[in-house]
Amino acid sequence: MLQYAFQRVLLALAIVFVAISALFTIMITLPGDPTTVLLGPRATPELRAEFRANMGLDDPVLVQIVNFWGRILSGDMGMDYNRNRPVAEAVFSALPHTMALVFGAIFWSATLGILLGAFSADNRNSWLDRVTGVLSVGFIAAPSFVVALYSLLLFSVTLRWFPTIGAGEPGDLASRLYHLALPSFAIGLAWVGYVARIVRASMLETLGENYIRTARAFGLTRRKVIYNYALRVAILPAVQVLGVGIGGMLSSAVFAEIVFSRPGIGSLIYDSVSGRNYPVVMGSMLVAIGFFVTCALIADLVNAALDPRQRVK
Amino acid sequence: MTQPILKLRDVVVEFPALRGLKALMAPRDARHVQALNGISLEVMRGETLAIVGESGSGKTTLARAINGLLPLAGGEIWFKDIALHQRPDWHDIRRQMAMMFQDPVGSLSPRKTVRDLVLEPFAIHGRKAGNPTETAARLLEDAGLNADFLNRYPHQLSGGQARRVGVARALALNPAVVLADEPTAGLDVSVQGEILNLLNAIKAEHGLTTVIITHNLNILRHIADRIAVMYLGRIVEIGPVTQIMEAPRHPYTAALMSANPEPDPTTRRERIILSGETPALTSRPTGCEFHPRCPVARDDCSARVPELTQSGPRAVSCHYPISENT
């Protein structure tokens, strides 16, 4: 297990390194003045000249990549020249909001999705199973930003049940959760359907396995067989899918943050792109990719912990 | 009959034992295990050699190595006068050396009709099949299936029918050698006889040389001229089928033959029950690799590796073989 974990961590680090380096390379090699790209259009000529010298922009690409990572690893993610603050500060104050959003969505999709899926499999081919099936596919199909817009329109603008703007009062948990409910629901809805489908399918497959027959032949109760023996195996693919799905949720979070005017990585990147504030874009990308890879890694390790067969591979 | 058509000398096939980081950190000789560990044998023109052994003995690996599906880590294989260990023209060799696989249905491409499957060798080797449908029908008929099957898909065939398609296809281009991996696997006894009769008839008619891989000891007498018994990637005994079955000299052969329950409740044979299981390839015992399970092992068996020693038509690899008169 330890060996397996070690290999996965190394792989995850390599992915973050290559993904970010590739992006950095594209940015500095694309035609155009890299100082514009890296400092934003508002930088003064003096600032540009100084930056060009300091950053070694005339060095070979490889050297620049090494220097870039050197700065990142020493904690320097550059400056947000538009608002005159370190990029790290901007990014790390936005990250918790996005994390709350994503974890909220995972909470929805895991609880509702696993329940619906297990329930469907348990009552397969009943009309309830059929309804759940159609609903799940409907959920999967609904584009998250349309769900966000519709729920904003219905629950916030028209019915006024939920707030339209912001992330709630700092320090006030209830207010935070209140502001979180709609946006995280909008992101999570599709995943509820997704998880339900996967859990149902893998549950049915698991229930057909010989060892389930063995368990029943030994007189274990139906409930115990289904929820202890089968579900334990059947949620493994759902864990994996949710881990990888965080990439998709981060994309959805951009819309949720913009539609509900929440702070977060998504709206930070969006604002920075409109302002051509590339150091911030780069920093946000780094954090977003790092966050995603970490979550996928955790899902992988959880899977391995739950399924001893995985560790051997 | 006296001329070898296949000659194997000290054939070694290795599999990677470790993957990923472990493999990089392990010493070079621990990265691989030997699935075949020095196999030498000859197959005479026109004979049927059966290779028997339990799972993990390497018998399937041997068939695949002969056909070039697995690379050799050492040793030589000669087919007629072609050196198969020196990058030969496999395309042409495989036309002369047909192979049948274990799973009768699974070894047929699932989205092709029986007609396409039987004609596949012609397509592969750019041969004209005359009138394709007639040729296919004739080949099927030779294998005991009528032309109604031409448009079926593999999943619509029973095990016995699929096996016949496999036979028809193997014989399509008149090979010199047929390698058959477990030809009776997955077949009921009532069907098994038909398939073996078919193989015997075809062999007699075409003067084929066949190598049959099997763990089914009951069929040996009826199909094989000679048998080779394998254990942990080595041949422990080889020779004419009746001699080996009636008077095994290697203790493993003896145990294997006695382990086969007879369908006759009145005869109860002396049985040698071996303890334990075949060890993993990663932990080969020292000396004679059979010694930890051998009922007649002596002290030095764990120290010295026995050689396969020829005496008359048979050979055995044991320091203290069972004498012929007992």
Binding site: L220, P308 | N260, P261, T278
Partner: protein, 323 residues
């Protein structure tokens, strides 16, 4: 002689698109207390349906159309599911064919052996001790350590021993063994057969041993039931059935086994033809289409005719029947 298991007129149908598939038709069989009864038959004979029916664990589209299954006099067909669950694993238990897939891959051996003792009012430590004892009893080296192992960490033979240990842990009255040696090599097969014999003697349970391997049946069983296309066609003491097979199918089946021919056969016997379509089984004798002896009378259904005392065959020509 008391019967541990009695199956009487058991008929099971599967609902399929082509209509009702009559997988078992009017099957009778008895397993006397303390005996080993073999069931032999080729694929499609209804062995697995029979096991599922005995355990009352049938797939959703299966239905018991008629007949009864009694375990020590207690009717299982239609029994409340709570009662059935109570009996499974305690009075009646089973070893399945494939040791690779019949154990739960994500739970340790110890956990699985704990779970099946859920009815016992004993301490955890005691349950662990019993599990380890039984693992040792079935011949696993280092049984205490094996409790913490996952199934994939064991070899095929070891896994089958674990499965047997689980099956006999509660000292059942009836042990069903569904081709327990088919997936194993010959030298392991004889080890398992020996083990089953020993355990049977020790626990005194009756064993219903399903196999397609005539040699294993001949060696292990006291009585044997021959099945073909969903019917029990012959039953009797092993020696009688093997020496004087009285149903043409049994005779053919024994004849086909190449193991009994000690010299090279010019032509190996086989049974030409295919199984009948069980959604529309032919009237009369089920084996009629493939039988050499078939005559006009075979268009009517044969009833079991006694050959000798405990040996009968479902054939018009069997025993004292019209020859």
């Amino acid at each position: 002689m008391t019967e541990t298991l009695t199956v009487d007129g058991l008929t099971v149908h599967y609902a399929t698109r082509e209509g009702a598939l009559q997988a078992l038709r009017d099957v009778d069989l008895n397993v006397p207390a303390g005996q080993i009864v073999g069931i032999v038959g080729e694929s499609g004979c209804g062995k697995s349906t029979l096991i599922n029916a005995l355990l009352q664990l049938m797939s959703e589209n299966a239905r018991i159309a008629a007949g009864s299954v009694t375990l020590e006099g207690e009717e299982l067909v239609g029994a409340p599911s709570r009662r059935l669950r109570d009996m499974r694993g305690r009075d009646i238990s089973v070893v399945f064919q494939d040791p690779m897939t019949s154990l739960n891959p994500v739970l340790t051996i110890g956990r699985q052996m704990h779970d099946i003792q859920y009815r016992e009012k004993i301490s955890r430590a005691e349950k662990t001790r019993r599990a380890a004892d039984m693992l040792g009893r079935v011949g696993l080296p280092d049984p205490v350590a094996k409790l913490d192992a996952y199934p994939h960490e064991l070899s095929g033979g070891q896994r089958q021993r674990v499965a047997i240990a689980m099956a006999v842990l509660m000292r059942p009255k009836l042990l069903i063994a569904d081709e327990p040696t088919t997936a194993l090599d010959a030298t392991l097969e004889v080890q398992i057969i020996d083990l089953l014999k020993e355990l049977q003697r020790e626990i005194g349970c009756a064993i219903l041993f399903i196999s397609h391997h005539l040699g294993v049946i001949a060696e292990l069983c006291d009585r044997v039931v021959v099945m073909y296309a969903g019917e029990a066609v012959e039953e009797g003491p092993v020696a009688d059935v093997f020496n004087t097979p009285s149903h043409p199918y049994t005779a053919k089946l024994i004849e086909c086994d190449p193991g009994r021919m000690k010299t090279k056969a010019a032509l190996l016997p086989a049974i030409p033809g295919d199984l009948p379509d069980l959604t529309a089984p032919p009237t009369g004798c089920i084996f009629r289409d493939r039988c050499d002896k078939a005559a006009e009378i075979c268009r009517t259904s044969p009833t079991p005719s006694a050959v000798t005392g405990a040996h009968w065959a479902r054939c018009h020509f069997a025993g004292g029947g019209r020859q």
